[in-house]
């Protein structure tokens, strides 16, 4: 009996410690990633990285200024596509929607959220690159924009639903029409959640490579306008990391550090906004 008891206690301690090791291991992965990127990326990050264009193979130096601007342009396009549809769609689901149609919308939104990013690239290729006959900023931005829609819709809907009924009823009782109630009372109250959702989804697509490979493609120079192939940080990291040149690897690390820093700052900022309660008031 006491032998069994001792065995059970032994198993108890071993297994519980094992779960602790699992948790510790997983958490440490983030610090590994951060550590490696800070070490290798930090070593090769310099001012030229932010201000210079890539140089031809064989020369050392140069930077990724065009990729940084490119990523910003792509994100701008993505927000122009994704945020209006996301917000309005979310408002529809929370405020106006009928039952059956809302169900279909929600279902397709989830479906769209599950589409692998590379497939989204193929889609943008077939609807934009094939008719235009060349790669373009537009195609990349739209591919990313469609990817932002699902999360924007769902967080908008959830944030709006979290606004107490009383607020709506108060506005309606004062004689405001429904859209005025939504626009001036409900939306401001839900703004924090909505902004968080939008930030998170933009941070996610900012790091996407696969949908850009054959839409925005890449470019070693500046890309004026919206109609030409454009460089972006994730695609640059990919091409530089798989190339056989040490100097390119160095730059890939630096770009990785910049990208990761941006994504993590956006994530931490978004979460801090939720928990600390920085609220957005209308002017």
């Amino acid at each position: 009996m006491s032998l069994l008891m001792r065995w059970r206690k032994f198993v108890n301690v071993v297994m519980l410690s094992a779960t602790g090791v699992c948790a510790l291991f997983t958490v440490s992965v983030l610090f590994f990633i951060l550590g490696y990127l800070l070490w290798y990326g930090g070593k090769s990050l310099n001012w030229a990285f932010f201000t210079k264009l890539p140089v031809p193979v064989g020369e050392t130096g140069g930077g990724m200024a065009n990729a940084i601007v490119g990523s910003a342009k792509l994100l701008l396009l993505a927000s122009l596509v994704g945020i209006p549809i996301g917000l309005l769609g979310g408002i529809y689901l929370a405020e106006f929607g009928g039952r059956a149609f809302s169900f279909v919308v929600r279902y397709t939104t989830d479906l769209l959220n599950g589409v692998p990013s590379i497939v989204m690239g193929i889609f943008a290729y077939t609807i934009i690159v094939i008719p235009m006959k060349h790669f373009s900023t537009l195609a990349g931005g739209i591919a990313l924009g469609i990817m932002t829609i699902p999360i924007a819709v769902r967080t908008t809907e959830e944030s709006l639903r979290a606004v107490p009924r009383v607020l709506r009823e108060g506005a309606l009782a004062l004689g405001a029409s429904k859209w005025k109630t939504v626009a001036t009372v409900v939306m401001p109250a839900a703004m924090r959640g909505i902004v968080t959702g939008v930030m998170l989804t933009l941070a996610r697509v900012a790091g996407e490579t696969a949908p850009l490979l054959f839409t925005a493609f890449g470019n070693n120079f500046w890309s004026p306008g919206w109609n030409q192939p454009i460089a972006s940080l994730p695609v640059m990291i990919y091409t530089y990391a798989i190339a056989p040149y040490d100097d390119w690897h160095r730059q890939a690390w630096a770009a990785g550090l910049v990208l990761l820093a941006l994504v993590l700052v956006a994530n931490i900022g978004a979460r801090a906004m939720v928990s600390r309660g920085i609220s957005f008031r209308r002017a």
Partner: protein
């Protein structure tokens, strides 16, 4: 809304029309229409996506039919396209990832929900959720420069030495391999398993634990024999969601799996996945048949992830209906 029910019945049409005009004046109908259009556009985009994938993969469907999925050669030069190596690679690397990630993820979730104090658990979960936000290309960079060398120098020789009699661990060691792909995927999907499983475990009523402990179970016995079975359906759902992620993951896998379209029993041999071949060959496709073959692969990948996501959804619906399963 009906203010005078009696008049509504008599002149319901004109009343409704007047209501409509009034709402139009206030902008409600316009707002309704605009938001409806936005919502409908989501459906339109999704339908268009499926349609475009289908229409643009007509050539290989006509030429190869079902043979596309069973063919083992992928030869753009001679125009012979069989997708089996890629389907195999996607399935094997994902299965490998689950094999590594499920014990790790469920273990960590148990620690976070059952053992760690709430504050610490919340901090750790926050870090784990940040891990889910790291772009896949960065996992790829670390995969190439850190993980693959470590596997090549230490892990693979060790496995070959100890388990080399299994066909899984035979053959020359390159570093880039199915094993590397599986390990990278595992690391990438663990956060999803943890954050969903932890929530499911935390939702298990505390009475369940108390009853087990009261009967003399140790902490581990109460966790493993009572709490985990109680939450098993939710944990299953988290695994399905993670699997859907793994199937569609592109960049990190492309960078470490070796990109060799051959089916090989050994995990040390390079492989190829559906997403990886699309990423690598799409811009260099040698003709319409090649390009459409890749698009058909995209369609397959899409349907696979939809299927797995659908299963996860069914599991979740089942749980919520039965009330978190009766243990």
């Amino acid at each position: 809304m009906a203010i005078f029910p009696s008049t509504v019945n008599r002149a319901s049409f004109s009343w409704r029309a007047r209501q409509f005009v009034q709402r139009l004046k206030h902008g409600d109908e316009v707002a309704h229409l605009i938001t409806l259009l936005a919502a409908a556009s989501i459906i339109v985009v999704t339908v268009m996506l499926v349609y475009q994938l289908y229409v643009n993969s007509a050539l290989p469907r006509q030429k190869f039919g079902f043979g596309f999925f069973t063919g083992r050669t992928w030869d753009p030069v001679s125009g012979d396209f069989g997708a089996l190596p890629f389907i195999y690679g996607t399935l094997v690397s994902s299965a490998l990832a689950l094999l590594l990630a499920v014990p790790l993820g469920v273990g960590a979730a148990i620690f976070l929900s059952e053992l760690a104090p709430l504050r610490i658990s919340n901090y750790l979960t926050f870090i784990i959720e940040l891990l889910a936000a790291v772009p896949s290309v960065i996992y790829g960079v670390l995969g190439i420069f850190v993980l693959v060398p470590v596997l090549r120098k230490f892990v693979m020789p060790f496995l070959k030495h100890t388990l080399g009699f299994l066909p899984l661990f035979k053959g020359p060691i390159y570093g880039v391999s199915m094993l590397a792909g599986g390990v990278v995927l595992a690391i990438m999907i663990v956060p999803f398993i943890i954050s969903v499983s932890r929530e499911v475990l935390m939702a298990v009523p505390v009475e369940q634990r108390e009853a087990a402990l009261g009967l003399g179970a140790t902490k581990w016995e109460s966790t493993w024999q009572v709490v985990v079975p109680f939450a098993r359906v939710g944990i299953m759902a988290s695994i399905f969601l993670a699997l859907a992620r793994a199937l569609g993951e592109t960049m990190a896998v492309t960078m470490v799996i070796g990109n060799d379209p051959r089916i090989n029993a050994s995990l040390f041999a390079p492989g190829y996945s559906i997403a990886a071949v699309i990423a690598n060959e799409f811009t260099e496709a040698t003709g319409d048949l090649h390009l459409q073959g890749l698009i058909e692969l995209g369609l397959v990948l899409f349907l696979l992830t939809i299927l797995i996501n659908g299963l996860a959804r069914v599991v979740i619906i089942l749980t919520t209906q039965k009330g978190a399963a009766q243990g």
